[in-house]
Symmetry: C2
Subunit: 470 residues, 2 copies
């Protein structure tokens, strides 16, 4: 695609359309929006815009579409795949002024919310009405719900409640040419033509800009218990995961952490934890509901499964403080590794019984390439986050040879029936790995769908699909 | 689109590609596949084919795509929107020989199944392994799981378990040009580019032919209790529906039946039921789980809500025979009306608190146009099936004026935040109503997506989207 640089005349048109006070070209603004949470990548936009309503977004896109100016939509900037990076410059479209929780409809158990609302703030507003919006990625305190839609986000409670895909009923979106549509209906069922709502979810701002979101809500639960099981090996912990579900038990969260991850948070964060010598892996298992007796019955059942898989110790947390401490350990892990080492994060997902093979395979590949890894994640969904640590690898190898190791990880993931991202998305940094999972036929379908929505390719260009084979 | 009639030469190519024994041109075959369960519509194909594997489907589509011969895929033929009718003749592609349950993977709680498996047979096979596949449309005894995927099917348990959309992990599909792809991965999470799996669900065979289906399974439940609440008015029963959810209760089924529906099944089916004079509407409320105490607590809670809404009597069914009798009444209703009257069926869906307005509106529209209606359905999802009965309407009015009444029903549905089909799909008979819900911009997006997958328009032509405005 050929893109146009933003001239003074185009800038004036944009200012005129969306208000001068919402357009920023100072160095600080351009620098602030040049990065997200993906490694240390930096791409500077030519202009940062912060429109305040749907009509303004429409006016903006009409101008950008007319001149072929690239537009990169951005939520909270917490993404891990570089989807919010304006790699072709152009307009950085921050949705941060779309801050309204428009309606929490307690009659229908639905909410209408703007995409710039912070996920945790939305969850709290919903909770204040006695309801639950259960999609809480680890970044819930700073990510936007619009970004969650764009990435098909998950989080620890997917194992019981499903991903965001199961909570989004309808979306107001602005198409590349400025047209505004609602993608579906505010209903729990929908069999009225192609499901554009589902197509938008996970499309990372490449098909349209989401400006309103209608979510499903569910009744709140009042009780929860968290268990922390210790294991001597990663493999035993991972093998226990599918056995728990085979026993007919559905926890509200089931997280895996390997020892090394716990060591990082003890070392670098203000977290105290008595890490025993013979423990090499943990499972966090949470149950929620309204009835403590039922929850404790589930705890007993899961205890029996854990014992079968060589669990050496089970810690029960039922006060909120105990629970919060353990959860903090898990949530801090990514940040801890990231702040203290050169690293790369991958987001593998496989059918859950394949987890032992996946975790062993990652370690074996690491041994061959010379990188270390910290593995943790939503084991109940078969979703393992891998923090790859440079460790003893030379700069040269890190720069050139690591990629082959990652290819091997994704080849393994794919061979096990999985895929290359469970919830972080493809964005910029994973797109070159897409051919491991998809044939050129498949990638061309994606490219052609993109062209239907955005014929000039202005929306978040250079993301998701790699450049076609020549 | 210009289509080619099937010549002897093309027929020979097809026979050669998929086996002569799988190709039928006798009058009986053509007549048998000329209709589905939609009203009394009949469209004859030129040839009926019953391929036995994916490679054969691919070979068939290559030929048909080359010559521009229309191909109408067909499951169990139980559809209510005419999606399986070969309105341009051509090839009727019956998937009835795709009968294998390839794998029930108890380690991963997943199954791989061919699209020609009858839904209930699949459910039973899964149940024999102690697992649950909960998507059971009323036609489960004869519909195919492939047809369920094509229509985004639901059923009574959606209210707790979700539609088929939440159970399909991955699909093997054959594209119009014969290319074969898997749409996704066998994983519970997926953030790896546009979600083609979700796009296929509900696309009614217009984008590709599904040849293998990977489903999620969940642990089976051992207990259930069914309550039948009686009300003096439709409005009271419908108003109770959203109040149940507001009270934090989630039944495993919540069905509405109006008196007239119960009268039809008593009159025409072998069903005995003591229908009291002052009762005009019913709610069927089912709870399931593993613990009867918990279920009974929910029953008590729901009882209190029902009382608030003027419920005059509650019948508890806890033996399987009692439960089956009540369920049979509900399941037989469509068939009963259909077999005994000229009728049309609509499948409205709205946010559930809008149900009272919907049911009152339908009656009011009926009064103005002179048609009667029997309403029943999945009230917990806001999904109301409307059987429109000719009653005193003249043949002339039924033929020409009824359409305006249906337009009014869909305008009401849409105004209430709903859509024109919750689970039956659009197919042939609803497509002309699509502009009530969708702008031409939206419909053109659907048409362009169709063109990406099927540039020559051979797959199930004439379905879902109406002819574009000139």
């Amino acid at each position: 695609m050929e893109y146009t640089k933003i001239t003074n005349a185009i800038l004036a048109e944009i200012e005129n359309a969306i208000g001068k006070e919402n357009v920023f070209i100072d160095d600080d603004s351009l620098a602030n929006y040049a990065h997200d949470e993906t490694e240390d990548l930096k791409y500077f936009p030519e202009v940062v815009v912060k429109p305040t309503d749907t009509i303004a977004v429409s006016a903006l896109l009409k101008i950008c579409n007319h001149y072929a100016v690239p537009v990169t939509p951005r939520g909270g900037g917490t993404g891990l795949s570089g989807a919010a990076l304006p790699i072709y410059g152009g307009v950085l479209l921050s949705m941060e002024k779309f801050k309204a929780i428009i309606d929490i409809d307690t009659d229908n158990l639905q909410a209408t919310v703007e995409p710039g609302v912070i996920t945790e703030e939305f969850m709290n507003a919903v909770a204040a009405k006695g309801l639950l919006y259960p999609v809480d990625p680890s970044s819930k305190g700073s990510c936007f719900i619009g970004g969650n839609v764009a990435h098909g986000s998950g989080g620890p409670r997917v194992v019981k409640y499903g991903t965001i895909r199961e909570y989004i009923l309808n979306l107001e979106v602005v198409l590349a040419n400025g047209d505004i549509i609602w993608t579906g209906a505010n209903t729990l069922k929908y069999a009225s033509g192609y499901n554009l709502t589902q197509l938008m979810i996970g499309s990372e701002g490449t098909l349209a800009v989401v400006t309103k979101i209608v979510t499903k809500l569910i009744p709140a639960v009042s009780q929860s218990v968290l268990m922390l099981g210790s294991f001597s090996t990663n493999e035993q912990a991972c093998a226990a995961v599918s056995a728990i579900f085979r026993a007919g038990i559905t926890p509200s969260a089931l997280e895996f952490m390997e020892r090394k991850g716990v060591e990082w948070v003890i070392k670098f964060d203000d977290i105290k934890f008595d890490l025993k010598d013979d423990v090499n892996a943990f499972l966090m298992i949470e149950f929620d509901g309204d009835d403590l007796d039922t929850i404790f019955k589930d705890c007993e059942k899961v205890n029996m499964v854990l014992e079968e898989f060589g669990c050496t110790e089970v810690l029960f947390a039922d006060t909120s403080q105990q629970k919060e401490e353990i959860w903090r350990m898990r949530r801090t892990m990514a940040e801890s590794v990231k702040s203290n080492s050169v690293y790369k994060e991958e987001d593998t997902v496989v059918p859950r019984a394949a987890l032992p093979k996946l975790v062993n395979g990652i370690k074996e590949i690491g041994a061959r390439y010379g990188f270390e890894s910290v593995c943790y994640g939503h084991a109940g969904d078969g979703n393992l986050h891998i923090n790859i640590i440079k460790a003893g690898m030379s700069d040269e190898d890190w720069k050139h040879r690591l990629k082959d190791g990652i290819v091997e990880i994704f080849e393994l993931t794919t061979a096990l029936g999985g895929t290359i991202s469970g919830e972080h998305g493809i964005g910029l940094v994973q797109k070159d790995y897409m051919p491991i999972k998809y044939s050129e036929i498949h990638l061309n379908l994606m490219r052609s769908i993109k062209a239907v929505f955005d014929p000039k390719g202005i929306l978040n260009p250079g993301k998701i699909t790699p450049t076609p084979n020549p």
